[in-house]
Each structure stands twice: as structure tokens, then as C-alpha cells.
């Protein structure tokens, strides 16, 4: 096993780590960097619980190698709030009860933010398809969609 | 004296009876006497049963009282998800 040394930027901080060549970014975040906010629900890109952005692109961190992210800019759930000020999505997920058990919540928040960054005024259908890569088994998605709608409205000042 | 209705799986162990009459004031006495008269029922009861008393479903807490002439059903302990 050849280890790889990687310098990268996570949530605005310069971070360096060594990892195994075949180690997914998710494992690096969770096991080497102590950032357990990204969750492993499947490890095969089917549940979205490990969603992060790499260079602005929404990805499943279980399907990215740690070795690949040298020089990249990574955003995870741990960097979503601005200090003690929650992102409007985080605030609305709580107030709309868009979570029950909460295991899928970090992934949904990252995916929803990526959606709104690209499309500030999505239709219900666009929200539903935009979040189709994130599985939730508790809520039936109803309150998640409503929380994203409310956030979109709030952020547009509508 | 209360009439205790048995669920299907207990009936063969009580000689096929749908119900049995037992002199019992609370669940503890009920279990004791049932085990004495129909030893085959004891393992079922030990595994955990539910006792319906006048339509309200109880677990197997001994102290629960059985009012005279109450409608009593022994039911399997209900699981949940």
C-alpha cells in the first residue's frame, strides 16, 4: 500500500493529510480529519449522505479518492454555518422539521445548497429532482421540500 | 372468578378450550393458577404475554387487578417497530 500526501482546502482552511491510495475522501474526512458530519449510508453513491462539494461541484465523497483532491476546494457540512450564524437552509430545516432522525440531513443540506446556488428559484419539481440523489427514510421528503422552498423564498427576499 | 379467553396457540394446551374460568384477583394469581392447571401454558406466559382487561391491553405486571366478571383475554406479547 503506497500512501499519498495531500494538501487541500476544506471549508476555507488549509489541510494536509496522508491517506492510502485507495481511500475514499469520505473515510479521510471521517477517520483522519475527525469531520464526521458527512455520513456513510451506502458507500456506493446511492444515498447521498456523504455529499460534499469539490471545486464547487456536488459529489458523493464516498466516490472520490482522497488522493484526488490535492489543490482542491472542498466544502462540507461543518463549514456551512458562518460561525454561530446558521445558513438559512440549516435554520429552515430545523423550523420546518425537515429532519427526524437526522442522519441524511448533512447530505440534504449540502445538496440543497448546491441546488439553490445554481438555481435560486427552483420549482417543486426542480427541488425534487435536485434532491433525488439523497435518500431519506423518515420524512417522506414532504417537509424537506417545504424547507427548501421556504429558504429559496427567504434568500430571494420574496 | 374471571373467564379468561385464550388465543389460538394456547387453546390446545388447555384441552382445546376457548376460555377457562379462574379464581384470580390479579395478574399474578391468574398466571399462577393457569400454570398449575395447564402446565403447557407456562412457557408461553414466561416468554411474555399481554393481558386485555375490559378492552385495555396490559403487559404482565403482577399487581394489575382483575375486576370481578371482567372480560379477560390472554394475547401474545405484541412486538413493535
Amino acid at each position: 500500500m503506497s500512501g499519498v500526501f495531500v494538501s487541500t482546502t476544506i471549508n476555507g482552511d488549509s489541510v494536509e493529510f496522508s491517506c492510502a491510495a485507495d481511500e475514499p475522501l469520505l473515510d479521510v474526512l471521517r477517520n483522519r480529519l475527525g469531520m464526521t458530519g458527512s455520513k456513510e449510508g451506502c458507500g456506493t453513491g446511492d444515498c447521498g449522505a456523504c455529499s460534499v462539494t469539490v471545486n464547487g461541484r456536488l459529489v458523493c465523497s464516498c466516490l472520490v479518492l482522497g488522493a484526488e483532491v490535492g489543490g482542491a476546494t472542498i466544502e462540507t457540512i461543518e463549514g456551512m454555518a458562518d460561525g454561530d450564524v446558521l445558513h438559512p437552509l440549516q435554520k429552515n430545516f430545523i423550523s420546518h422539521a425537515a429532519l427526524q432522525c437526522g442522519i441524511c440531513t448533512p447530505g440534504f443540506l449540502i445538496a440543497a445548497k448546491a441546488l439553490l446556488d445554481k438555481n435560486p428559484d427552483p420549482s417543486e419539481e426542480e427541488i425534487r429532482f435536485g434532491l433525488a440523489g439523497n435518500l431519506c427514510r423518515c420524512t417522506g421528503y414532504d417537509k424537506i421540500v417545504r424547507a427548501v422552498q421556504a429558504t429559496s423564498k427567504e434568500m430571494r427576499g420574496a | 372468578m374471571v373467564e379468561v379467553h385464550l388465543w389460538g396457540a394456547l387453546r390446545p394446551l388447555a384441552g382445546g378450550a376457548l376460555s377457562v374460568n379462574i379464581e384470580a384477583k390479579n395478574i399474578r394469581e391468574l398466571f399462577k393458577k393457569l400454570a398449575n392447571e395447564y402446565p403447557g401454558t407456562e412457557p408461553h406466559i414466561k416468554r411474555g404475554v399481554a393481558v386485555s382487561i375490559n378492552g385495555k391491553i396490559y403487559r404482565d405486571n403482577w399487581d394489575t387487578e382483575l375486576p370481578e366478571n371482567a372480560e379477560i383475554y390472554l394475547l401474545p406479547r405484541i412486538p413493535g417497530g
Binding site: T44, G45, C62, L63, L65, E68, A111, A132 | -
Partner: protein
């Protein structure tokens, strides 16, 4: 396992060619990492091609489009000219996985994975797309349908890498469409799929057509009889029925966890008919 990320194609090819053990190309990794996780493969070497110059670019050329092997799905839909010329190809590629997968997956990877159910490939085949392959003996250009040979296997030789996909230039009044059947609305592998590529004459009569079906055989199937059914028609009911029948007749699928022989055979015809109608309208035809 070793991880290498060379900045030029020659080095990448050399690394792959020289490796004694199991060597794999990494572009988007959305199939490769899943197979690694499942223990289906145990690479000794993974060569990440994303650092190679120009490999993540879409270029409009004199002969059409050149799509680099590392262009992620999401970037295809962001290229307006490509979407206008080849909407079916883009919609096929955009159906691969979720938004998260779209941030990584590539058409070239989808092709080299060798699955007959690949969403990105039938429309490429219907388009008569080609790929540029780099290898130890230099570059060669191959038709897309000649890459997969059976489920999970390709015709690529040791050290060869698909470098880019080439799409031909469009005649006027041409368009394409891709439809797949999945039980859910997202996140499934195609149970059966159909791509239709059409060119119309000034009167709206189909003058050229090509139809490809996915997940109905060990490789993606081109159905000339289906194209014949459309050519010369304005997509009247009869020609569409013939198209559907030709498609169903060309199927030799399997029963598996995703669908039955009976289901795939019937639905292949239905999807081809619907895709033909979409492509026809996109090409400017009126039904």
C-alpha cells in the same frame, strides 16, 4: 494500490502499459470506486487522467464536437451549443445517476464500463459517434459501438485509454432523443432504453434515421429495420407501429432483478416510438 495522476496522455498510457498488475483508468470514478468497494476489483494501479491537459474540455470543431474523456455529465448540460445540436446525447448522459454522480461521471467512463444498460451510450451510437483511443502504438479512431464487446468487457487493449468522444456535424433539421425505462424517477439503472437520431427533409419527411436499444442484449443493439420503418415517413401511426415491432423483434434480453424478457421486449418498442416522436419534433417535424 498506487495512485498516479500524470499531466500528459503519453505518460498515462505508458504507466498503464507497463503495469504488471491490475491497472485501471480513473476519470469520474463512479463505477470504479463502487467496484473497489464491493471487492469486485483490486487495483494495483489507478491512473487518474483528469490532470491531463484539455481532457475535461468540450470543443466545437470543424467536424462537430470533441468531448474530452474527463468531462463530467453536468458540464455537458452547461454547454448550450452541444445541447442544441445533440439533445438526446446530453439527456442520456444526464440520466446517469444523481446530481452528485453528475458532478463526476463521464460519457467515456460510462462507455468503457461496458454495460449494455449504460444511459450515456445508446444516443452516441445512434449518432454514429466515434472515440479517439490513445495507446502504446499511438492514436486510433473507433466507432463507439465497437468499444463494448460484452457486459463489462471492451475491445480496448492493455495501455489504451479513450481520450475523447467525437460527434459528427449535424445536417439541418436533425435531432435526437433518448428515453429509458426505470421503475423510480431517478437513481435506477435502465431496465430498457432507446435512442433515436433523425434527419428530416424540408417537407418533414424522415430522410435518415438510426435507432439503438439498451439493456435488451449483451451489448447495445443498433436496429436497422427500425430506421427503415421511419425513413420516408412523417412518423404516421403505421410507421411508428412498424418501428416498435422492429425494435421488439431485435431484442434478446434476459430475465433479471430489474426486468423480465417479456417486459423489456415490449417496452423497447414503446420507448423507441416515444423517442422517435420527441426527436421528430425537435428536428422541426410536426405530428
Amino acid at each position: 494500490m498506487r495512485y498516479e495522476a500524470p499531466d500528459n496522455m503519453k505518460s498515462a498510457v505508458t504507466m498503464l502499459a507497463k503495469e504488471q498488475g491490475a491497472a485501471f483508468v480513473l476519470a469520474g470514478g463512479t463505477d470504479l470506486l463502487v467496484k473497489m468497494k464491493a471487492g469486485m476489483i483490486e487495483p494495483d494501479l489507478v491512473v487518474d487522467i483528469k490532470k491531463i491537459k484539455g481532457i475535461a474540455e468540450i470543443k466545437k470543431t470543424a467536424t462537430g464536437f470533441r468531448i474530452g474523456a474527463a468531462v463530467p455529465g453536468v458540464a455537458l448540460s452547461e454547454n448550450a451549443a452541444l445541447v442544441k445540436a445533440w439533445p438526446g446525447i446530453v439527456e442520456g448522459a444526464n440520466l446517469i445517476g444523481s446530481k452528485q454522480i453528475q458532478g463526476r461521471c463521464t460519457m467515456a467512463g460510462n462507455l468503457c464500463n461496458g454495460s449494455p444498460a449504460a444511459d450515456g451510450v445508446p444516443a452516441l451510437i445512434a449518432a454514429k459517434a466515434k472515440v479517439v483511443v490513445s495507446g502504446p502504438k499511438g492514436k486510433r479512431t473507433v466507432a463507439v459501438e465497437d468499444i463494448p464487446v460484452s457486459p463489462g468487457r471492451t475491445s480496448l487493449k492493455k495501455g489504451e485509454i479513450v481520450e475523447a468522444i467525437l460527434l459528427p456535424k449535424r445536417p439541418p433539421k436533425s435531432s435526437d432523443a433518448y428515453l429509458r425505462f426505470i421503475p423510480r424517477t431517478e437513481m435506477d439503472i435502465a431496465v430498457v432504453s432507446a435512442a433515436v437520431n433523425l434527419t428530416l427533409d424540408a417537407k418533414g419527411v424522415v430522410k435518415d434515421a438510426r435507432v439503438a436499444l439498451g439493456a435488451v442484449a449483451p451489448t447495445i443493439v443498433v436496429v436497422p429495420a427500425a430506421a427503415h420503418a421511419l425513413i420516408g415517413s412523417k412518423l404516421d401511426a403505421e410507421s411508428l407501429e412498424k418501428l416498435a415491432a422492429a425494435c421488439s423483434a431485435a431484442c434478446h434480453p434476459i430475465d433479471d432483478k430489474r426486468g423480465t424478457i417479456e417486459f423489456r421486449t415490449k417496452v423497447a418498442g414503446v420507448l423507441a416510438r416515444r423517442a422517435a416522436e420527441i426527436a421528430y419534433r425537435r428536428a422541426g417535424g410536426k405530428i
